[in-house]
C-alpha cells in the first residue's frame, strides 16, 4: 500500500519540484563568439557533408558543424586540419562527451550507465553516421538496415538466427531493437521493457503475462531465457534442450528434506514413467507451463 501511494505520489511531487525550478533550468541558447565560423563557411569546402547535415536532425543545432567539431574560424582561415577537432582521433569517451553535451539528458539514454556498449567503449559514432551520408543516414530506420548494423559487430548472433527455430529477424519481420535497447537498459542484456518494468517479451507475447493464479516461479524470477533461447535454436519452440522432459527435469530433481541442493524444483510424482511417450513431453499435460489461472500443477 505504501509503495502504491509512493508510486502515485511520485509524479505529483516531481511536478511540484520541477515547477519551482523550471525557470532556472530552462535551456539558454549557446552564444557563439568570433572563433566560430558558421556552417555556411564549412559548406564552401565540405559541400557533401554540409548537405548531409542539413538533411539530418542535426540541422536544428546552431552552428551545426561546430557544435561537434568546435570553433572553426582558425581552421577555415588556414585550411589546417590540425586546427579543428577531428572526432576520428578522439577516444570513445571523448567522442561520447561531444555527443552527450546535447544528448545526455534524453529518454533514450536513461539506461546508459548499465549499458555494456558504454562500458566497452562503443562510441555513439560506431552506430550513428553523424554526417548522415549514405542510404541509412544518421539513424537506421529500415528493419534490414537496423539488423545489418547490429550484425556488423554481433556476427555470432547473426549466425544463431540461421537456425530453423527462431524469431523472424533474418526475414526482417523484427529488428534487434524490438527486444534490445542499444543505449542501455536496467534489464539484463539491455532488454526492452513492457509497460514500466515487465519483460519486453510481453510486448508480443501478451498471453504469457498474467498475473496468474499460480505462477511458474522461473518465469518470474529468471525470465523466458531460463527455458528458451530467444535468438534461435535447433530445438522446437526455441527450447534450450532437445527434449521437453530434459528442460523440466533438470530443475525438477530435488528431493524435499533429503537433497542438499538448496534450489527450487521438486521431483514429479512416481506415476511419471519416462519410458512411456505419454510422459516424455511434459507440456502435453502441463500445458499452462508459463502460469495457470486454474490449476496448481499447470494442467489447465
Amino acid at each position: 500500500m505504501l509503495l502504491k501511494q509512493a508510486a502515485l505520489g511520485a509524479p505529483v511531487a516531481m511536478l511540484l519540484l520541477l515547477a519551482t525550478s523550471a525557470t532556472a533550468g530552462k535551456p539558454e541558447p549557446k552564444k557563439f563568439g568570433p572563433e566560430y565560423a558558421g556552417s555556411e563557411t564549412c559548406q564552401a569546402c565540405h559541400e557533401d557533408i554540409y548537405k548531409g547535415i542539413m538533411a539530418s536532425p542535426h540541422k536544428v543545432a546552431d552552428h551545426a558543424c561546430e557544435s561537434c567539431h568546435g570553433p572553426g574560424a582558425d581552421h577555415a582561415g588556414s585550411a589546417d586540419a590540425s586546427k579543428i577537432r577531428n572526432p576520428l582521433k578522439l577516444t570513445a569517451q571523448q567522442t561520447d562527451r561531444t555527443c552527450l553535451a546535447c544528448h545526455l539528458n534524453q529518454t533514450t539514454h536513461e539506461g546508459r550507465i548499465q549499458s555494456s556498449h558504454m562500458r566497452d567503449s562503443v562510441s555513439c559514432t560506431a552506430c550513428h553516421t553523424i554526417h548522415g551520408k549514405g542510404p541509412v543516414g544518421l539513424v537506421p530506420r529500415r528493419q534490414e538496415d537496423v539488423n545489418a548494423l547490429c550484425g556488423t559487430c554481433h556476427s555470432s548472433v547473426v549466425a544463431q538466427f540461421q537456425k530453423p527455430f527462431r524469431h523472424k529477424v533474418p526475414e526482417n519481420a523484427m529488428t534487434c531493437v524490438d527486444c534490445h535497447n542499444p543505449h542501455g537498459s536496467s534489464r539484463a542484456a539491455m532488454a526492452q521493457s513492457f509497460g514500466a518494468n515487465e519483460p519486453g517479451c510481453l510486448n508480443c507475447h501478451g498471453d504469457k503475462r498474467g498475473p496468474f493464479t499460480v505462477e511458474h516461479a522461473p518465469v518470474k524470477y529468471e525470465g523466458c531465457a531460463t527455458c528458451h533461447e530467444p535468438h534461435g535454436s535447433a530445438n522446437p519452440r526455441l527450447l534450450v534442450r532437445a527434449e521437453v522432459r530434459q528442460v523440466c527435469l533438470e530443475c525438477h530433481a530435488n528431493l524435499p528434506g533429503v537433497t542438499k541442493n538448496p534450489n527450487a524444483g521438486a521431483v514429479p510424482p512416481a506415476l511419471h514413467d519416462l519410458r512411456s511417450p505419454r510422459y516424455q513431453n511434459c507440456t502435453v499435460c502441463h500445458q499452462k507451463i508459463h502460469g495457470s489461472y486454474i490449476d496448481r500443477n499447470f494442467l489447465k
Binding site: 545526455l104 528493419q143 530453423p164 496468474f212 511417450p277 507440456t283
Partner: protein, 652 residues
C-alpha cells in the same frame, strides 16, 4: 484495420499517377543500386522512394508440410513485397516529412507497416503495425501417439497476432514535451490442446483469443542540466481460450487405449471456457542530472500493478476414471473463480563521476521487487475448496566500475558487482509436493575489460566476469561462473572489413557435486568487401559454436539418479555476393546452419536474385529461394521447398 491492405494495394497506382505530374526523377536515382534506393527526397522532389510488387510461386513442399509451415510458412500469390518512400511538404504546413515503410503484405506470415510523420519542433508521430502468423504443428513435439503411427502435435497452434503501436510527441526539443501512446497486441486462431483427466489425455480443438490494450501518456521535461520523464499508463487485458468437442460417433479414446478395470475411457463432449480479464496501471519516472561538469546522475522509479480476474467453466461427458477412488464417472462439472494481483516495484540510481580527465567511476544500485498474491475458489463434481499462491521475489544489485584511459590507445576497466535477493513461493493448500520454497541468491562478480585501438582502423575489445555465489534459485541458474568475450575489428582497406568475435561461458554449482558441467563457446569471423562504385560486394560470416551441459536428475518413477546430457556443435555460414553490370544486378548466397549433437539438424537457405532496370523508374526483379530442413532423428519432420518470386520495382 482493413484500410491498411487497401491503402497498400492502392499505393503503387497512386505513385505511378503522381509520377506523371511530377518532375523527372534525378539522374542519381537511375544509377543507384536497385536494392538500396534512397528514400530521402531531394529538395525539388516531394516524393521519393520505391515500391516492390510481385508474384510468388511455391513449389510443392517435399516432406513435412506442417513443419514447413511451422518454420517458413511463405506461400504463393500476389504480394506487396516492400514499399519505402518519403513525402516532403515543401511549405511545411502540416508536416515536414512523412516516411512510410511496408514489408511483405499479401497473406504473408509477417507483415509490417511503419509510418513516421514529423514537423520540426511541433510533433513527431510514429505508427508501427504488424501482423504475424504463428503456425506451429511439429509432428515430433508433443505427440504421445507417434509410436502408434499417428502424427498429431497435441500442442499446436494456427493463430494470427496483430501488434500495433502508436505514439505522438508534441513540441519535441522543447522544455516540456507531452506525449501519448496506444499499443494493442491481439491474437486469435485455433489449435489443438489437451483435456486431461486423472488417467487419460484427450487431444481436443481449441479456439484462442487474447488482447492487450495499453494506453500511456506523460511528458519529458528537459532543462540545460537535467531531464525528467514522467509516464503513466494503463492496460486492459483479456483472454478467452475455449475448447469444445461433441461427437455422436465413437468417443475420442485419448492417449490411453488400454482398458482400466475392463472399461475403456473416452470423451463424448467437452466445453472449457477460460474467461480472463485483467487490467493494470503503471508509473514510470526517469531522471538524469548533470550537477557538475564532472558528474552525471541517472535514476528510475518504476511501478506496475497488473491484476486479473478469472471465471473458468468446464463441463465434460464420457467415460472417465478417478484413480485414487477407483471411481468411474460419466460427467463432470468444474467451476473456478479466481483473482491475482502482482505489484511490481523497480528502481535504480547511478552516477558517472569523472574525477580526472582520463578516469571515470560508474556506480549503480538497483532493486526489483515483485509480489504476487492470488486466490481461487473451486467447486466441481470432485473438487471443492480454495487455492492460493503467494510469490515474492526481491532482487538487488550494486555495481562499481572504474574506466581509465591507460594511454592514447588503451582503455581498461575493472569493477565489482554484488547481487543479492530472495524469493518466496507458497501454494496452499499443500498437496503432497512441497508447498513452500524460500530461496536466496547471493553472488559476487569481479569484472574487467580492455579496449585497444592502436589506430582508427583496428580495435580489440576483451572483457571477462568471474562470479562466486553462495545461493541460487534453480539448479541450472548461474552459480560459480566465468565469462569472457573478445571482439576484434580491422578495416584492412577502405573497402574491406574483417571482424571476429569469441565468447565463452562456463558455470558450475558445487552443491550438485561434480555432475553439473556447463560450457558454451562461440567463435565467429565476418568479412565485408565493398569495392568502390559498388560493382561488386561480398559479405560473409562463419560461426562455430559448442554447447555442453551435463546435470544429474532423478527419474521420477524410480527416484534413481540419471544424467541429462545436452551437446550442440554448430557451424553456420552466411554469405552474399553482389555484382552489378550496368542495368543488371545479380546477387547470390544464403545461409547454412549445421548442428550436430543432441538434435542433429541441417538447415539450408540458399538464395539468388537478379534485377534489371528497364526504364528510369521501372525495374524488374526475380528471386529464387530454397529452404531445406533435415533432422537426423526425426526424418519425418524434414522438408524442402523452393520459392520463385518475380516482380516490378517502381522507383522515383
Amino acid at each position: 484495420m482493413k484500410f491498411v491492405p487497401a491503402f497498400l494495394v492502392l499505393l503503387p497506382f497512386s505513385l505511378v499517377a503522381q509520377d506523371k505530374a511530377a518532375a523527372p526523377a534525378p539522374a542519381a536515382a537511375q544509377s543507384a543500386p536497385a536494392a538500396e534506393p534512397s528514400p530521402a527526397p531531394s529538395a525539388e522532389n516531394w516524393l521519393a522512394g520505391s515500391v516492390d510488387i510481385g508474384e510468388r510461386w511455391l513449389s510443392g513442399v517435399g516432406g513435412s508440410l506442417p513443419t514447413y509451415r511451422s518454420v517458413v510458412n511463405l506461400g504463393s500469390g500476389p504480394k506487396l513485397l516492400g514499399a519505402d518512400f518519403t513525402i516532403l511538404d515543401g511549405k511545411r504546413r502540416y508536416f515536414d516529412r512523412i516516411r512510410v515503410r511496408a514489408l511483405d503484405w499479401g497473406d504473408q506470415p509477417y507483415e509490417s507497416l511503419h509510418v513516421l510523420a514529423e514537423k520540426q519542433d511541433s510533433y513527431e508521430f510514429n505508427a508501427d503495425f504488424r501482423r504475424v502468423s504463428y503456425f506451429n504443428n511439429l509432428p515430433s513435439f508433443a505427440d504421445p501417439l507417434l509410436t502408434r503411427g499417428t502424427a498429431l502435435d497435441e500442442q499446436s497452434f494456427d493463430t494470427r497476432r496483430t501488434i500495433g503501436s502508436f505514439s505522438l510527441e508534441v513540441l519535441p526539443n522543447s522544455f516540456i514535451s507531452p506525449f501519448i501512446g496506444y499499443d494493442r497486441d491481439s491474437s486469435r486462431g485455433t489449435g489443438v490442446t489437451v483435456f486431461r483427466t486423472d488417467a487419460d489425455e484427450f487431444a481436443v480443438p481449441a479456439t484462442l483469443r487474447d488482447s492487450t490494450d495499453l494506453f500511456r501518456g506523460g511528458f519529458h521535461m528537459t532543462g540545460r542540466l537535467w531531464h525528467v520523464t514522467v509516464e503513466e499508463g494503463g492496460n486492459h487485458y483479456k483472454t478467452d481460450q475455449n475448447t469444445f468437442t461433441s461427437t455422436s460417433l465413437a468417443p475420442n479414446p485419448g492417449n490411453v487405449t488400454t482398458p482400466i478395470l475392463g472399461q475403456t475411457q473416452g470423451i463424448t463432449s467437452l466445453l472449457q471456457d477460460y474467461g480472463v480479464r485483467g487490467s493494470g496501471n503503471y508509473t514510470k519516472v526517469i531522471l538524469t542530472v548533470t550537477p557538475t561538469t564532472w558528474a552525471d546522475v541517472y535514476g528510475h522509479f518504476l511501478f506496475s500493478e497488473p491484476q486479473t480476474s478469472i471465471n473458468y467453466k468446464q463441463y465434460d461427458n464420457g467415460n472417465f476414471v478417478l484413480l485414487s477412488q477407483a471411481l468411474f464417472y460419466t460427467s463432470e462439472q468444474y467451476l473456478v473463480s479466481a483473482a491475482a494481483k502482482l505489484p511490481h516495484t523497480s528502481g535504480d540510481l547511478g552516477w558517472e563521476i569523472r574525477p580526472m580527465r582520463h578516469v571515470r567511476v560508474l556506480q549503480s544500485w538497483m532493486t526489483d521487487r515483485l509480489h504476487n498474491a492470488s486466490n481461487a475458489v473451486q467447486s466441481g463434481t470432485f473438487v471443492a475448496g480454495t487455492l492460493g499462491q503467494s510469490l515474492a521475489a526481491n532482487y538487488n544489485s550494486t555495481d562499481s566500475t572504474v574506466i581509465a584511459d591507460a594511454g592514447k590507445s588503451i582503455i581498461v576497466r575493472g569493477g565489482y558487482r554484488y547481487v543479492w535477493g530472495d524469493a518466496f513461493d507458497t501454494v496452499l493448500p499443500a498437496e503432497g509436493i512441497p508447498a513452500v520454497n524460500h530461496e536466496f541468491i547471493s553472488r559476487k562478480v569481479g569484472m574487467g575489460g580492455a579496449t585497444w585501438r592502436p589506430m582508427h582502423r583496428f580495435s580489440l575489445t576483451g572483457e571477462f566476469e568471474i562470479a562466486s555465489s553462495s545461493g541460487a534459485y534453480f539448479r541450472t541458474s548461474l552459480f560459480n561462473y566465468k565469462k569472457a568475450r573478445m571482439m576484434a575489428r580491422y578495416q584492412i582497406l577502405d573497402t574491406l572489413n574483417l571482424s571476429a568475435d569469441y565468447s565463452v561461458l562456463s558455470n558450475k554449482d558445487p552443491n550438485l557435486s561434480s555432475a553439473y558441467k556447463f560450457l558454451t563457446h562461440r567463435e565467429s569471423v565476418s568479412l565485408s568487401w565493398n569495392p568502390a562504385k559498388r560493382r561488386y560486394s561480398f559479405q560473409g560470416t562463419y560461426e562455430h559454436c559448442g554447447y555442453h551441459s551435463q546435470i544429474s536428475f532423478l527419474v521420477p518413477s524410480l527416484l534413481t539418479p540419471d544424467l541429462s546430457v545436452y551437446n550442440e556443435y554448430c557451424h553456420a555460414v552466411t554469405a552474399l555476393i553482389h555484382a552489378a553490370y550496368g542495368k543488371l544486378e545479380v546477387s547470390g548466397g544464403g545461409a547454412v546452419s549445421l548442428v550436430s549433437g543432441s538434435r542433429p539438424t541441417a538447415y539450408y537457405q540458399p538464395t539468388a536474385r537478379v534485377s534489371y532496370a528497364v526504364t528510369k523508374n521501372i525495374g524488374f526483379f526475380g528471386e529464387w529461394r530454397y529452404y531445406g530442413l533435415n533432422e537426423a532423428f526425426f526424418l519425418f519432420e524434414s522438408f524442402r521447398a523452393q520459392l520463385l518470386t518475380a516482380g516490378l520495382r517502381y522507383t522515383r
